[in-house]
């Protein structure tokens, strides 16, 4: 009998709880792997206190502060004037790494020097604000010298904060706006000494590319006020922290990653929901997560469950609340997610710290460094998208001295299944690399417009914005957005470009979505063109804030979508064709479609009889055309098709970067010789597999990568798998992908082989994709397996930039 109490579980008690669970029938099937991660002792290293202001050093001595090695290292480097990126585990005291030099600088300068502290979330900013205020009080620095400046700040406070505060806590979205009115920040910017960005691992992909350009703008403005501030970045453990920091700012960085903090012993379970042969599907991972959540709470373990959606966070909490109604745990279980009022969230965090809550189901909103104390158990329900996130979530328990348990409950997605079946890869802690691109012309254009608006740009400064800045400026000059006086570019409009540039998306044309009921029209949201064509076409069923709407009209000229509320028993699914055409760049920079290869690209053609063709992988610019052909209405109850309707929408087209895997004709022949005619299904399955596993290597989701498989490509005269960056202009995904293509092919083969599904069409755990425009048809697991096995035996040349002659060139 396990006794319930609220204390941190002792070694034997936790072991007993886990042992009991392991003995259950379910665990015998589902608990695939178990590992005990050993405890780690603290490593301390003193810093030279003489370098600190006497007030600060005496404060640190009075509180008995011991510096972990990474803290000492970071502080010494920052005091030496270097830009530093700190990449250590959760709860390793990263805040103190930058706070001590900041406080020192404020005290040494006689309360003059200023610092920007930038957090990606407002909740984090508030959390840190309270912490730093307490330290200010201990150091007798007036509380008015620190302030949070964001959209929630009262207008009356804003002026005071700008003019008085020595530390301003804000977020990148705010900075993006404030830079346009930098004269209001004159007093602050004239003394800015440090710029700190916390949680920099979130600045990846489109968001990271935007923030990289934002950081360059910040640097320019600070330089205009005669300051060259030091940059300090903090990051969770990622594959390339230093590379990311240097790419974000264009400045050299020192990496501090020798983590000296201690951790307690942690048990790690890999849990795969049982396979149901009758339905040819796995049991829902939500179901197993729910059981584990309730089991741990029942045995008095303070448990945090991470879910993948807000809805699931609410549902899991609701199920547990109902389960424990009338018990001593009633009222001690809550959901937590973004969207709650700030006060509610602070209250929940406090209750977690004080252990008055026993269970909480949350989204990734609790993943970042908000202080919630140490928990006994963490359940990760479904792969959170990256190993970095997974270890961040796992780091939420075992912060104290007690032992803890982390359970990863795998979903049915291919990536979840890959990791659950490859524990060696799982525990290798091979963290993904964050990627950013300074070359996306769409992102660059917006930030260059903002930069010119903030300050004129000279020719020499343009290099700082990357190699593509010159052509983008040339285009803007031709369009009259900027004008030139001498060797400088000036902004020629009287608008505020930052307003039009979203930091976490690529600026595209947007449609306004309205609910129309009788005479009233209510604005609901705005959506991008691609999303409108896929989910808001005429006749589509659209879910918004848990309400069901039907699209009654789509006005392409006015860019307005009208909806009306309607309860229906079906949902709609669009079908589309995608074509990818490689582009080549002419001498004048113009990009045009490449010509057919057969007669014009002899270098790439091999004669039959010379042995097997090698596996060729190319990368380069492509244009992607998408045409929505029809939509089907499917029953909610069983997913069966009710009706089909044609769609008459214009083609969408954008240029991006792509990688092309050219399948040698020999493989087609070999397949035919084996009696298989499923080449199309095979390469389609490979395309899905690669895209599903892509986030294993690059910090992105499967939705960020698109793909098209063609059995006989007119350009190459061979079957080709095209993979492309889904963002117009590309954000660097392909550049990473090309180097890991062989490894991705091998992993795809593994996942196909290890999947227990019976059908040749596969399942969502192997080769079926939730975003396939052809409804996963045709698709063939067996052909994919054969093709990959043959491909991996071929001679392989490293990827080459695609550069044949353009069409029409003589």
């Amino acid at each position: 009998m396990v006794m319930e109490n609220n204390h941190i579980p002792g070694e034997n008690r936790l072991k007993a709880i886990l042992k009991k669970k392991k003995q259950s029938d379910k665990a015998k099937v589902s608990l695939l792997h178990e590992r005990a991660l050993p405890a780690k002792e603290s490593k301390f290293l003193e810093i030279n206190m003489d370098r600190l202001h006497p007030k600060l050093s005496s404060y640190l001595e009075s509180v008995g502060f011991n510096f972990w090695t990474h803290q000492s290292d970071a502080i010494e480097n920052i005091l030496d004037g270097r830009n530093v990126v700190i990449s250590t585990s959760t709860a390793s005291g990263k805040t103190m790494c930058y706070l001590i030099p900041i406080l020192n600088s404020i005290l040494e300068s006689g309360l003059v020097n200023t610092t920007f502290l930038v957090y990606p979330l407002k909740a984090l900013a508030q959390d840190q604000f309270q912490k730093i205020r307490r330290i200010f009080a201990a150091l007798d620095i007036p509380q008015r010298y620190i302030g949070v400046y964001d959209a929630d700040t009262a207008i009356d406070d804003k002026r005071r904060i700008r003019n008085e505060c020595k530390i301003v806590i804000t977020n990148p979205y705010g900075l993006h706006m404030y830079l346009g009115n930098h004269r209001l920040w004159k007093k602050f910017l004239e003394h800015v000494h440090y710029i700190v960005f916390d949680e920099v691992h979130v600045y990846t992909g489109v968001f990271g590319s935007n923030v990289a350009l934002l950081m360059r703008r910040i640097k320019r403005i600070a330089n205009a006020y005669g300051k060259n501030p030091q940059w300090i970045f903090c990051s969770a453990t990622i594959g390339n922290p230093r590379e990311l920091a240097e790419k974000l700012t264009g400045l050299p960085f020192i990496l501090v990653d020798d983590d000296g903090s201690n951790t307690s012993e942690k048990y790690f379970w890999l849990w795969n929901p049982a396979y149901n042969k009758e339905t040819d599907q796995r049991i829902s991972y939500h179901h197993d997560s729910r059981e584990l959540f309730q089991y741990f709470i029942q045995h008095g373990l303070q448990t945090l469950m991470f879910t993948q959606s807000r809805k699931m966070a609410e549902l899991q909490a609701k199920w547990a609340i109902n389960y424990f109604r009338g018990t001593r745990h009633e009222g001690r279980i809550m959901p937590y997610r973004a969207g709650y009022p700030a006060r509610t969230r602070r209250k929940l965090e406090k209750q977690l710290r004080e252990r008055s809550l026993i269970g909480i189901s949350a989204t990734s909103a609790l993943e970042l460094g908000i202080d919630i104390g140490s928990l006994d158990a963490v359940i990760i329900s479904g792969f959170p998208g990256s190993m970095m996130s997974l270890w961040q979530q796992a780091g939420r328990c075992g912060r104290g001295k007690g032992k803890s348990i982390v359970v990863f409950c795998a979903g049915s997605d291919a990536l979840d299944q890959y990791y659950i079946n490859h524990p060696q890869m799982f525990f290798k802690k091979n963290h993904e690399s964050a990627i950013i691109s300074l070359e996306n012309p769409y992102i660059l254009r917006g930030h260059l417009a903002c930069a010119v608006k903030e300050r004129p740009i000279g020719d020499s400064e343009l290099l700082f914005f990357g190699p593509r800045a010159h052509p983008v400026m040339r285009d803007m000059l031709a369009e009259g957005i900027i004008h030139r006086i001498g060797n400088k570019f000036f902004y020629a409009k009287d608008d505020f470009p930052a307003e039009k540039i979203p930091l976490n998306a690529i600026p595209t044309e947007s449609y306004q979505v309205f609910q129309v009921d009788r005479q009233r029209r209510r604005y609901l949201t705005s959506e991008t063109e691609d999303r409108v064509f896929s989910t808001l076409h005429e006749g589509a069923i659209f879910l918004f804030m848990a309400e069901t709407f039907k699209v009654i009209s789509l006005d392409l000229d006015e860019k307005v979508v009208s909806l009306k509320r309607e309860e229906v028993n079906y949902y709609t699914e669009p079908y589309y064709d995608t074509s990818v055409i490689p582009l080549v760049e002419r001498d004048n920079g113009e990009k045009v479609p490449a010509r057919r290869r057969s007669s014009l690209v002899p270098a790439l053609v091999r004669e039959r009889g010379e042995g097997l063709e090698p596996l060729e992988i190319h990368y380069g610019n492509v244009t992607v055309e998408k045409r929505y052909t029809k939509y089907v209405e499917k029953k909610i109850s069983d997913g069966s098709t009710m009706s089909q309707h044609p769609l008459h929408l214009p083609r969408t087209k954008f240029n991006t970067k792509g990688v092309f895997i050219i399948i040698p004709n020999d493989i087609h022949v070999a397949l035919l010789e084996q009696g298989s005619k499923k080449l199309g299904g095979g390469i389609h399955a490979i395309e899905h597999g690669i895209i599903a596993l892509f986030p294993q290597h690059v910090f992105c989701s499967r939705w960020d990568v698109g793909g098209v498989s063609i059995t006989l490509d007119p350009l190459f005269n061979r079957p080709v798998i095209y993979l492309y960056d889904s963002f117009p202009g590309g954000i660097g995904l392909v550049e990473k992908a090309k180097d890991v293509m062989l490894s991705l092919l091998g992993d795809t083969l593994e996942i196909i082989k290890s999947c227990t599904c019976q059908a040749d069409t596969g399942c969502p755990s192997c080769v079926q994709s939730p975003k396939c425009g052809n409804g996963n048809d045709p698709i063939s697991k067996s052909s994919a397996e054969t093709i990959i096995e043959m491909l991996l035996q071929l001679e392989y040349t490293s990827p080459r930039y695609f550069k044949p002659r353009p069409s029409g060139h003589r």
């Binding site: 009115n181 205009a224 006086i485 505020f496």
Partner: protein
């Protein structure tokens, strides 16, 4: 009444659309681009004597014992001690007050504007005696809007004291690219005469100029200006009005010269936009002549507010009427009426401070 009539007649400034505007327009061209300059010279009336008005402020300052460190405004005790002027303080028993009074008098005698401003808390307008009246820029700008505004017109007025004339120049950007040149010309003028008088300039004109100067030349307006008087601040302070007082109200009530021949300020960006859209010679006179008139009127009336001896006297004395007699004034209107009544009844001249 005759006096008012004279003022009204003199306020009939030359109206641009009644004569060829080309006669006043010069195209300026430098390495940074081009812009237009529209110049005019206005003859001021006899009563307009800036030097005299400024000297009055100096006299008033020497009478304001609250400038002495240690004497506050509410101290009726000083009256009982018969300390009426700063010179009186020189003879009081308190040594520190004596020292402070001596310092203030020295600053006033030396016209040390910096020290007077920082050490005494005197108002900007009261310190104008430190500046040569012909070295003051009366300024007004017109922009394309309120937020993220671009400057398309800067009106500047400089007094020629011996000739008793006000010379105005308005720099016009025919498109937004010419804003650079407009700012450059304005910057040169302000560098030459680093004292500026504006109406609501600290909240608007000055801030916009500061932003644009920093943008084009990496210099802020504070780095150039030695003295900036915002007449709105002064009007609000001296009248005790808590709300914003439009220049039009001041003109009507203090100068007794209501506007005519120009357009409301809110319509000016639209007029400029129409001019830009039309982009031809006709549109210049059609849409902008009234805008130029606004610039001239604003500059002219700003100068009158501080330079007209009678108005200026009334303007500054009103402050004393309010503060020394502890009159609780509830509205601007009542204040202005009071001033006008007192000016014309000659009551203020009998004030014990003058």
């Amino acid at each position: 009444m005759m006096e008012i009539l004279v003022i009204l007649l003199e306020l009939k400034y030359p109206v641009y659309h009644r004569r060829p505007i080309e006669s006043s327009v010069v195209e300026l061209e430098e390495s940074g681009g081009t812009c237009l300059a529209i110049k005019h010279v206005f003859k001021m009336n006899e009563r307009f004597d800036t030097r005299k008005a400024f000297l009055l402020t100096r006299k008033r300052l020497t009478h304001d014992i609250t400038l002495v460190h240690g004497i506050n405004r509410k101290g009726g005790i000083w009256k009982k001690k018969r300390l009426r002027t700063i010179r009186d303080v020189l003879y009081c028993t308190n040594r520190s007050l004596r020292k402070s009074a001596r310092e203030v008098l020295t600053w006033i005698e030396n016209s040390d504007i910096e020290r007077l401003r920082e050490g005494t808390g005197a108002r900007d307008a009261e310190l104008l005696f430190c500046v040569d009246p012909s070295h003051i820029n009366y300024l007004d700008i017109e922009t394309t809007g309120m937020r993220d505004a671009r400057i398309f017109l800067v009106a500047l007025g400089i007094l020629n004291v011996p000739a008793n004339t006000l010379e105005t120049v308005q720099f016009l950007a025919r498109n937004l690219d010419e804003e650079y040149m407009v700012c450059k010309q304005t910057l040169d003028m302000l560098k030459r005469y680093p004292c500026m008088i504006s109406y609501n300039g600290k909240a608007f004109d000055g801030k916009v100029l500061d932003e644009r100067f920093f943008y084009y030349f990496n210099t802020g307006i504070d780095d150039i200006l030695e003295h900036h008087v915002d007449l709105l601040h002064e009007v609000r302070h001296f009248t005790g009005a808590s709300k914003c007082v439009k220049l039009g109200d001041v003109e009507r009530s203090i100068l007794r010269a209501p506007r005519s021949g120009d357009i409301p300020s809110r319509d000016i960006p639209d007029a400029y936009q129409l001019f830009i859209n039309a982009g031809n010679h006709d549109s210049f006179t059609r849409y902008l002549s009234e805008v130029f008139q606004v610039g001239d009127n604003n500059v002219m009336n700003s100068s009158k507010l501080v330079g007209d001896s009678e108005t200026s006297r009334a303007f500054f004395d009103m402050y004393r009427v309010i503060h020394h007699n502890f009159i609780d004034i509830l509205s601007l209107h009542s204040i202005l009426m009071k001033i006008l009544q007192t000016v014309h009844a000659g009551l203020i001249t009998g004030c014990r401070r003058c």
